[in-house]
Amino acid sequence: MVQLDTRTQPESAPLAPSKAARRRPRRHLLPYLLLIPAVLLELLIHIVPMLVGIGISFLHLTQFYIANWRDAPPAGFANYRYALDFHSAAGKELLHSFFVTVVFTVIVLVISWTLGMAAAVFTQRPFPGRGIVRTIFLIPYALPVFASVITWNFMLQRDNGAVNHVLVDQLHLATGDRPFWLIGQNSFYSLVLVEVWRTWPFAFLMLTAGMQSITQDLYEAAGLDGAGVWGQLRSVTLPMLRPVNRVLLLVLFLWTFNDFTTPFTLFGKGAPRQADLISMHIYQNSFVTWNFGTGSAMSVLLLLFLLVITGAYLRIANRGADDA
């Protein structure tokens, strides 16, 4: 804005003062007018539903009141107490689900980022067929979620699934019974596997794009200074990718933490306890049991947690950027 004004000032100076005064407010107004639709939509789509959701978390909103939900009795913090009472079954389940989700997110994040990084570095230098390799890497990201995850479901089935066919029938790796992949402890690893399979191409895509902007000169300079492959990665690639990584990790974290489609498609309505991600847990506690108050309270708690994490992350990441 300031720049615009200083640049246009000399041009408007020769004009009569009255004319300039008449034109200026309009010029100031226009950007805001153009913003109005976006602001309204933002309010309508994000802010208002969010506020309504927070409001609902303070109501006893069950099926008795949905026909006229303004009559739902106020609950104060009862919904929050219900969710956070870690001595009761409901609270314990929520806490358990929370820990499962945190562990799940960290594992998926680490593996996806590492894979994405490795693949991006691998395809950084041109070689014959690079385009094809990159395309193949991106396929999981391009497939529709439902189609790909339901295929995983078939592959992970105990009796007829391809996974057990390879592990048990071909390689004879299992001692004793065929392992289950969709129930019990293994269901957690299955979920990690499918989630990594789905998310790492995104990391790969972002990192590849980020690497396009690193000039070859830097690598040559590093090479002259005696840096090997690892040295170049550490002193050129990673520092140059810092801004990309900052956003990438945050986005991956939020997506993975909140992912609903993958567990829902892989396990159906009720996920196994060992793979009970928080988004599924909240769905079960509000939609399936028609208790929107507690579901909203849990969502708000989740939002607060994510806000704290994101805030802390951005602070640390930005401080790091200032230092650099």
Partner: protein, 435 residues
């Protein structure tokens, strides 16, 4: 911007809950009062949504011809139906007439969104006595006028493979659980298992455990509507169910991961298993390629000896009900439509096509409904079927118990022993989550 973007991502589920208030469904039909247009939400009963439109289209045309009332049909898939109903309830803008799963009756009755069928309303659609008693019992809480009437009825039966039974030298289907176990062990061979279960399905699990609990004299809610999940009878019912895998070894442990809703039936149709506990499914079995001559059906067995207080219940009352939204502007037309859909000729046509059972007595005179299989189900529905608890917390009960049983079945399948005390504590934990 960053904060709102984050909020949007973080609040995916919350926004879903609030979307209920934000969006509204299509309004009730318009048109003059003389020739109103009704909006009808039909549940998905046929093989696809299009199939439903083809089945219902000509019938609705008949209704329009008879009465001059037009009907706008929308077939709603099961995955959306409850959400759509809740949305319509919240916004007050819904269809005039709609189908609901009958186990939702009491919960939806509590919302007050539907027209109560008291005696005067009931007389407008031909009176209470036309309906099958069993089906009518799953239309709302006891002592209150029902807010729906049954349209398609279903019940659970024990499907058995006649060929496998004959091969094992068994001439009659079992009528008691000891007989059942003896037979099941005989037909469990290296080639096929005795019984298949949809063990990963929340609803199948809870439906079966409910029946077993009734037979043990148990209940999940007392007469005052208070939950009683962890009674010894309910523990016994769950144990009986788990023991199919855990102790009797007549069920393939892999069944514990069947969650698609059709896998256990497909196993039965393909001859991988000799028996399955399922709702009337002759049509689906034929579609899956099973030889009609091999399909046998009998009531689910009973305990022998009967435990104290045990009831001779062999099925839950399953089926689809028809309800009228209170906000309808065309009450008379809506009731005429309900009367039409539950009339004997329509009941014959629709249930014949869908493979379900008529909910009115007279329709059973039709030759299509005098086959042994249909007669078996009719007698189950009228004599030995009990409705799921008609309490407002019914859907919560289904979710909590179904999930608990599913997890225990997964443990049993992976070779862990699920003891009575473990069952009891799981049921107790489920009850604590009832809010």
């Amino acid at each position: 911007m960053r904060v709102t973007r984050l909020a949007a991502l973080a609040l995916a589920s919350l926004a879903g809950a609030t979307a209920l208030t934000a969006c509204s469904s299509s309004g009730s039909g318009s048109g003059s009062d003389k020739n109103p247009t009704l909006t009808y939400w039909a549940s998905n009963q046929g093989t696809s949504l299009d199939n439903d439109k083809q089945v219902l289209g000509p019938e609705l045309a008949k209704f329009t011809k008879q009465t001059g009332i037009k009907v706008k049909l929308q077939v709603v898939p099961w995955s959306d139906l409850l959400n759509n109903i809740l949305t319509a309830t919240t916004s007050g803008k819904g269809p005039d007439v709609l189908n609901i799963g009958n186990t939702w009756s009491a919960s939806l009755q509590a919302t007050g969104a539907f027209v109560p069928f008291d005696d005067s309303v009931m007389s407008k659609i031909g009176g209470k006595s036309r309906f099958l008693g069993g089906s009518l019992s799953a239309t709302g809480a006891a002592g209150k006028p029902p807010t729906a009437v049954p349209i398609y009825s279903l019940a659970y039966g024990l499907y058995y493979n006649k060929k496998y039974f004959a091969d094992a030298g068994i001439s009659q289907p079992p009528t008691t659980w000891p007989e059942f176990l003896a037979d099941a062990k005989k037909v469990t061979t290296p080639q096929h298992w005795g019984l298949s279960l949809e063990g990963g399905s929340v609803s199948e699990n809870v439906h079966n455990v409910f029946t077993f609990s009734q037979q043990q004299g148990g209940a999940f809610f007392d007469s005052a509507g208070k939950p009683t999940f962890d009674t010894p009878q309910n523990v016994a019912a769950v144990r009986q169910y788990l023991d199919f895998i855990q102790k009797d070894k007549i069920t393939n442990p892999s069944n514990a991961e069947y969650a698609q809703g059709t896998e256990a039936l497909a196993d039965f149709a393909k001859g991988k298993t000799a028996m399955v506990l399922w709702q009337a499914a002759s049509g689906s079995l034929k579609q899956l390629g099973m030889n009609a001559a091999d399909i046998g059906v009998a009531p689910i067995p009973l305990p022998d000896p009967m435990p104290a207080g045990g009831k001779a219940v062999t099925s839950m009352v399953a089926g689809i009900n028809l309800a009228v939204f209170k906000t309808t502007k065309h009450m008379d037309a809506a009731l005429k439509f309900v009367k039409f859909m539950t009339s004997t000729p329509e009941q014959k046509v629709l249930n014949k096509t869908y493979g379900s059972l008529p909910s009115v007595q007279e329709a059973y005179a039709d030759p299509a409904f005098t086959t042994p299989a249909v007669q078996t189900f009719k007698s189950i529905l009228s004599k030995s079927a009990a409705p799921l608890p008609a309490v407002a917390a019914e859907s919560q009960f289904e979710t909590l118990i179904g999930t608990a049983v599913k997890d225990m079945l997964a443990d049993a399948a992976s070779g862990k022993t699920v003891s009575d005390s473990k069952i009891s504590s799981e049921l107790k934990a489920a009850q604590q989550q009832l809010s």
